[in-house]
C-alpha cells in the first residue's frame, strides 16, 4: 500500500505520541519490540472480554463472561481480588483516572462502579435497555460514558449516579466509546459503520466518519495526544483517522478480524506502535508510521479479544476466549 507521506530520507510525520520526536534530524532507528510471555493468569471460568491496566500501572483488571472481574497485580501477576455481583457476563471495564474505581458494563443492562481498595460495589447505574457493551471514564473521573446494544450512548455523573445525557448515537449497537485527553469529546463507533465524535458538554455530534463499505466498527480509541483515532473494523483492518480532516491516514492489516470486537491499543513507551488482537489467536504489533508488522505475539489458543498497554512500562496484557490473561514484557 502506498503511503504518500512516507519518505525514507525525510523525517517522519509527527508521531501520534505525547512525546515530541526531534524534528529536524532523523530519529535513531528504533529497535524492534521484543515482547515475550511472562505470566499467564488463569482463573476465569469463561471467556475474558477485556483487560485494562490501571492508570497508575499497579493493577490489571480483567472482565469476563463469567460475571466476575478479577484484579491482578501488574508486576507479579498475583490475583488480588474478584468483584462479583453482575447478573450476566461483563463486556467491558475501565479504570478511573485515580485508579480507585472500576466501572463495568454487562449484559444485565447495568453499569456498576466498584471500589478497588475494598473490592466492593459502590453503585449500580441502570438505564440502558440492552446489554452494555463498552464503558469509558473521562480523564477527570467525573463523567462516565457507556455504549450499549440499545444504540444509545449514555453519559453518567459518577458521583451521583444519574444519567446526564442519552444520545441517540447510532442505528446499531454502539460497540466502542472513548474520551479524549481533556474529556471534552467522546468518540463512539457502532456496528452501522459510523464513527461519531460528540461534544460532551452539549451532546452535539461534531463529526461523523464513515468508511465506504460501512463495515461494522468494533473498537475506537483516541490517540494519547488526542489528534488521531484508532478504529478497528470487521474487515480485518485497523485504521488511523485524522478526524479533524476526516481522513483515514493509515490502515494496518495482516490480522484477522471479521466477527469479534477486538480492542486495539497504543504502545508508546518505546517507539510508537499499535497493538491489536486477532482472531487467529495472535497479537499483532504495527509500527505506527510504517504500518509494518513489528511483532507477532503467539501464545493464546483462541481469539484474542483484548489488549492493553501498560502506561509506563513495556508491558502488554492480553485476554481472549481461552479464558486466560497473558502478560508480555519486553525486557531488552
Amino acid at each position: 500500500m502506498e503511503d504518500p507521506t512516507q519518505n525514507p530520507t525525510a523525517p517522519p510525520p509527527p508521531a501520534p505520541d505525547n512525546r515530541n520526536t526531534p524534528a529536524p534530524s532523523s530519529p535513531p532507528p528504533l529497535r524492534r519490540p521484543e515482547y515475550s510471555l511472562r505470566y499467564t493468569l488463569k482463573g476465569h471460568d469463561a471467556g475474558v472480554s477485556s483487560v485494562k491496566f490501571s492508570p497508575d500501572g499497579k493493577w490489571l483488571a480483567s472482565s469476563s463472561a463469567d460475571k466476575t472481574i478479577k484484579i491482578w497485580d501488574a508486576e507479579t501477576g498475583q490475583h488480588e481480588a474478584t468483584l462479583e455481583g453482575h447478573m450476566a457476563g461483563i463486556s467491558d471495564i475501565d479504570w478511573s483516572p485515580d485508579s480507585r474505581t472500576i466501572v463495568s458494563g454487562s449484559d444485565d443492562k447495568t453499569v456498576r462502579l466498584w471500589d478497588t481498595a475494598t473490592a466492593k460495589l459502590i453503585r449500580i447505574l441502570r438505564g440502558h435497555h440492552n446489554a452494555v457493551y463498552s464503558v469509558s471514564f473521562s480523564p477527570r473521573g467525573t463523567i462516565l460514558a457507556t455504549g450499549s446494544y440499545d444504540e444509545a450512548l449514555r453519559l453518567w455523573d459518577v458521583r451521583t449516579g444519574n444519567c446526564m445525557k442519552t444520545l441517540p448515537a447510532h442505528s446499531d449497537p454502539v460497540s466502542g466509546v472513548h474520551f479524549n485527553r481533556d474529556g471534552t469529546m467522546i468518540v463512539s463507533c457502532s456496528h452501522d459503520g459510523l464513527i461519531r465524535i460528540w461534544d460532551v458538554a452539549t451532546g452535539q455530534c461534531l463529526r461523523t466518519l464513515v468508511e465506504e463499505d460501512h463495515a461494522p466498527v468494533t473498537a475506537v480509541k483516541f490517540s494519547p495526544n488526542g489528534k488521531y483515532l484508532l478504529a478497528g473494523t470487521l474487515d480485518s483492518c485497523v485504521r488511523l483517522w485524522d478526524y479533524h480532516r476526516g481522513k483515514c491516514l493509515k490502515t494496518y492489516m495482516g490480522h484477522e478480524n471479521v466477527k469479534y470486537s477486538i480492542f486495539s491499543d497504543w504502545l508508546v513507551t518505546r517507539g510508537s506502535y499499535v497493538v491489536a488482537g486477532s482472531e487467529d489467536s495472535d497479537i499483532y504489533l504495527w509500527d505506527v508510521q510504517t504500518k509494518e508488522v513489528a511483532q507477532i505475539l503467539i501464545g493464546h489458543d483462541n481469539v484474542v479479544l483484548g489488549v492493553s498497554a501498560h502506561p509506563t512500562k513495556d508491558v502488554i496484557a492480553s485476554c481472549g476466549l481461552d479464558k486466560m490473561v497473558k502478560i508480555w514484557i519486553d525486557d531488552s
Binding site: A46, G47, S49, S50, S64, A65, D66, K67, E84, G85, M87, A88, G89, I90, S91, D92, S106, D107, D108, K109, K120, L121, I124, H129, N130, A131, Y133, Y149, D150, E151, P168, S171, D172, P173, H191, G193, V210, E212, D213, H214, P216, T218, L234, V258, K259, Y260, S261, L305, L321
Partner: protein, 1108 residues
Amino acid sequence: MSRAGYADFFPTAPSVLARKAKDERLARWKSTQQAKQLQQTIDEDHQSIHAKDAPSSETATSTSTVASNASYTTLTPATSNSSPPAHASPDKQSEPEHNAKPEVPAPVLLTPKATPPAVSTPPARKRRNCRITFDPVLEKDKIPELGKYPIYRWDGEGITTPIEDPRKQIPDYGAAAKNGKKQQRDVLGRVQWAWDANYIGPGPPSQILITGLSPLTMEPEISMHFRTFGEIKSLTMKYDPATGGSLGVCSILYRDSKSLRLLGHQAAKEAVARGNGLNIGMQRIRVTLDRDGLKCAKVVEGILHAKQRKEDEEARKREEERLSKERASRSYGSSDMNGMRRDRSPIRDHDSRFSKPRPANYVAYNELGSRPAVFISARNVPGGEKMVRHMYGRLRNFGLDEILTDICGFFVVFNDLHGMERCYNLCNGDHLFSHRMWMKPYPTGNTGKKTISQSQRRARSRSRSRSPQRSRQKLNPVTLATTSIIRELKVTVLKDIRKRVADAEIYDLLDPVVLAKRRKLDTPTVTISPAKPAMDTIDDPTTETKPIYANLAALPRFKRRVRKAETPLSDASPMPGSHRRKSSIDDARPLMHRLNQYDADASDDDSGIGSRGMSTEPGDDEVSISTEQRLKKRKRNMGGRTPSRLKGSVLSDEEGEPVDINKEMEDFIADSDEEMQVSRKRPKKSKKPKRAEEIIFTPSASEDETVEPDVKRKGEVVPDEDEHIDMSMDVDEEIPDVMEAILQEEKKAGRDAELLTPTDVDLDNEPSASVTLRLPEKTELPEWALSTPEHQQPTIYDDPTIILDLDGLQDLVKDDEDFDFLRAALASAQKGDIGNPHAFACRIKEIKAANMEGEPGLIRKKPKIEGFYRPNPTGCARTEGYRRIPEAEKSMYLPHRLAVAAKRADMAKNKDSNHAAPINTTKPVSSSRSNRVNNRRLVAELNNQKQILSGDADIVRFNQLKKRKKPVKFARSAIHNWGLYAMENIAANDMIIEYVGEKVRQQVADLRERKYLKSGIGSSYLFRIDENTVIDATKHGGIARFINHSCTPNCTAKIIKVEGSKRIVIYALRDIAENEELTYDYKFERELDSEERIPCLCGSSGCKGFLN
C-alpha cells in the same frame, strides 16, 4: 568638536554660515536667561571672592569665565579669559567674532577649590536631547521674526514649569497593556480563606433571619418558600409573648443535607441570596444571615420594645384624656361634661398622661400657673417619668390634676387647694418605694398669690374641660370604630383560641393510649372473656376495596373520624371516659360544626363517596382499628406459639414477650373498643341492617397458649416470625410486606371482636342498641384452642412464596430437625468450596441486596433482569461476536419503538372498546384562511417593493411557501432512524411543508444516484418533479427530507406552481394529531423481481412489505 569637519574647511560656505547664525541666535536666546543666572552667581562670587583673598580673584574670574565659557560653548566664544566676567553678556557678541572661534576653548580649568559653592553649572557634556521649538517648515512664515531656521531646545533647558508625565493625563493608560496580565497591587489584599475543616472559630452561619413578614403568614407558607434552598432543621416564628400574635419575624436554621449534598451554611447563603427581597403574599421580606440567632433576638426585642413603647404612649394619652375629662367632670356645674361622659371612650389609661413629649429645657415650674401644687424634689424621689405613675397612684385621692416633671423634681398639681393641703398634711414624707416624698407646698402655683378664686378655678377647669370635649367630639367616630373592632376582635380571638388550642387539646385527649390510661384510672376492673375467632376466609368488601386504609392505619393514629363520630351523639354516653370527652367537646360546641366540615371534606376526598362520610366511616374505622389489631394479633401469635419445641434460649424471649404484649394488647383493645363502640354508634344511626351481630371478645390471660387459626387460609399466612436471632428484624421488615395479607385475615378474624363488655363500663343504663356492635355477618371470631390429636394443627405455616435462596433457607429452617431434613435433601448436590462460610454468606446476601435494589432479606421473586433480555450463550455480548440484529428484535428493546408500539396498542384497544379517540383538531393558531389572506397581502407588498427597487429584484428572494409551513420537528423514528413529527394538530388538506433541495436535471440526478450508492448513502433523497427535473435533498435541502415512507400514509405530495416554478409540497391527507409522525407514500417503482427490494418498516396494517 574634536574632529575637523566640513565647517572647518569651508568656513564661508553658506550652510556653515547659516548654521553659525542659527547657533548664535539660539545661544542668544538662551543666554538671556543664563546670563541672568550667571549674573547672580557671579555677583555672589564677586562678593565671596572679594571677601576672600585677592589672589584667588584671578582664579575666580578665570573660573567664572570658564564657567561662562563652559556653558554651552557658544556663549562667549569671542571673549577671552581676560574679559570681565560681569559683563559676559552675549549681546555684545558679534557675528564675525563667531567665525574666529566657533569652538569652545579646549581646556576647562575648573579647580575644585576655587569653584564657588553657589554656582552649580552643569558639566560640559554633549547635547543629547533636543526638541524643536520653532519649525520653519511647518509654520511657514507665520512667525517671521524667528527667521527661517529651526530653533531647538536642547536638553530641556528653559523649562520652568514642573514636568509631568503626560501619560498621566490619559485615563486608563496602562489598562490596555494590563489586559489579561497580572496587575501589581498597590494595596495589600486581604486574604479570605474558605471555610473548611481546619478553620478555627465558628463556622459560617447556617441560620437566617426573615423579617418583614405579614402577621398573617403562617409557618407552612414560609417553610414552603425556604425549603427549596436546603433542608430545614428548625423554623421558628417569633410571637409576641403577650398577645401570641406573630411578629412577622422568623428564623430558620438549615441542616447539612446529604441527599442534597448541601451544607447548612451553603443553604443559608443561598437562601439569603435568593430570598432577600422576595415577595411572600403582599409583603416584601428581608432575609439576612444570622449567626447564632443574635440578630433575631435583637430584632424581636426591638419590636417588642417598640410595641411596648407605643402601648405606653397610648396608655398615657388615654390616661391624660381620661384625667382631663375626669377633672372636667369633677369641676362644678359643667353640664357639658355629663353629656360628654356618655360618649367618653370606656378605655382610658393613666399612663397616657405621662408620656407627653417635653422639650429638653422644660421647666415644670413655669407651667404651674396659679394652681396649687406640691413640689417633690428629684433629690428625694428620682426617676422622672417612671415615678410619675406611681406617684400619681399614690396621691390620686387628693384631687390630683396632673404631675409636672422636670429634672428638678415633680410638681404635683391639684385641682384645689384643699386637696393639696390634705395631701401635704397626710403624705409629706411618705414612702414611695424606697424614697421619701418630701413635699414643698406651692399653694398658689408660681404666681405667689395666696389663693385663687373659685370662679377662676371654675373658669380654668371649664376651659380645660371644653377643649378636650371638643377634641373628644372630633374623635367620636374613631372611638366608636375602635370599640366595635375590639369587640369583634375579642370574639374572633376566642374562636381562634378555641380552634387552635382547645382543639389540639381535645385531639390529644382522644388519643386512645391516653384515654386508656385515664380509663384505667377510673375503671380498674376490666373482665375479659375469651371469644371465638372467626377464621374462615371471608372477604369484607369494605376492606378490599379500600387498600389505602391499610396504609393509613399504619400511620400513627389518624383518629379524626372517630372524633367526628362522637360529636353528634351527645345523647348516647356509654362511658365516663367518653363522657369526659363529650363534655369537653360540648364546650367547644360552636366550633364543632367546623370540625365536622373539615372531617367531612377529608373523608370525602379519601373515600370518594359523595355523602358526608357517614357511610364510609364505619368501614374506615374498622379498617384503621383492625390494622392495629392485626399488629397486635401478630404479636399475639408470636407469643402464642407453644414454646415446647423451641430452644431454651429463645424461650425466655418468648415468655417475656407475651406477657407484655398481652398487657399492651389489653390497653390497646380497651382503646380500640371504645372507638369501636363509638364508631358503632354511627352505623347504628345510619341504620345499616347488616350489622346485627353482637360480638364480644376480650383477650384472655391464657393467650400464651397456642393461638392459631383453625383453618389454613390460602395465601393469608401469618409469616412466621423467626424465633431465631433475627426475630425483631423480621417483625419490622415484614410489617409492610404482610400488611395486606394480614389485613384481610384480621378483618375477618376479629377486628370487631375485641371489645369490652358493656357491663364493664357502666353501660347498663344505655340502651343496648348503642352498645351493640354491628359487624358484618360473615365474620367469625377466632377460635383459640390447643391442638388436639383429632384436630392437629401445625404450629408453623411456611410461606411458600419465599424464594429458597440462602435467606429463604435460613428462614425455613427453624430447628435442628429441619436442618437435618435440609441436609438430607441437599445430600445429592455437589459440594463447592466457598471459603469462609460467614464471609460467603455475607457476600451473597450483599450481592442479592444490590441486585434487588437494596432490600436485604427474604425475597419473593428472584432477582432477574428486567425487560428485554437475550442471554448470550458464551456469557457476554463481546464474546459472542458480531451478529446482525433483525429489526423485529430491535423493536423489542428500543425505547422509541416500544413507545410507538404501546401507543398503537392503545389506539387499537380504544378502537375496540368504541372509545373513538378523536384526534383533537383544535384549530391551529391562525386559520388557514387568514393565512392565505396574509400571504397574499405580503406577496403583493413584496412585489410592490420589487417594482420600486426596479433593478435589484433578486435581493428580495422570498419563498412564499415558507409562510405556509406548519411547525414540525425531526426526531428518532420507529420506522427508520429519523422522521418528521407534527408539533401541533394539522387539519386535513393543509399544506405542511415544501420539499426543498437542489434542483437538478434528470441526467445529473442519475449520476448522483450512482455516486451516492457507491459512497454508501443508502437512503435516497431524490424527488422527481417532472420528467426532466429532480429535487435532490441528499446534501442540501430542507427537513422535509426526513419524512419516512408508510404504506398507509397521512400525507401526500403535490406539485404546485408558485411564481412560475414548480414546487413539491406536502399536504395532509387527514387530520394529524400532535407528535404524530408524518409519512407519505414514496411511490417508488415496483421492482418485484429485484433482489434489493427495500423492506418497509412502517408497521402499518396495510403494509405492503417493501418500498418498491
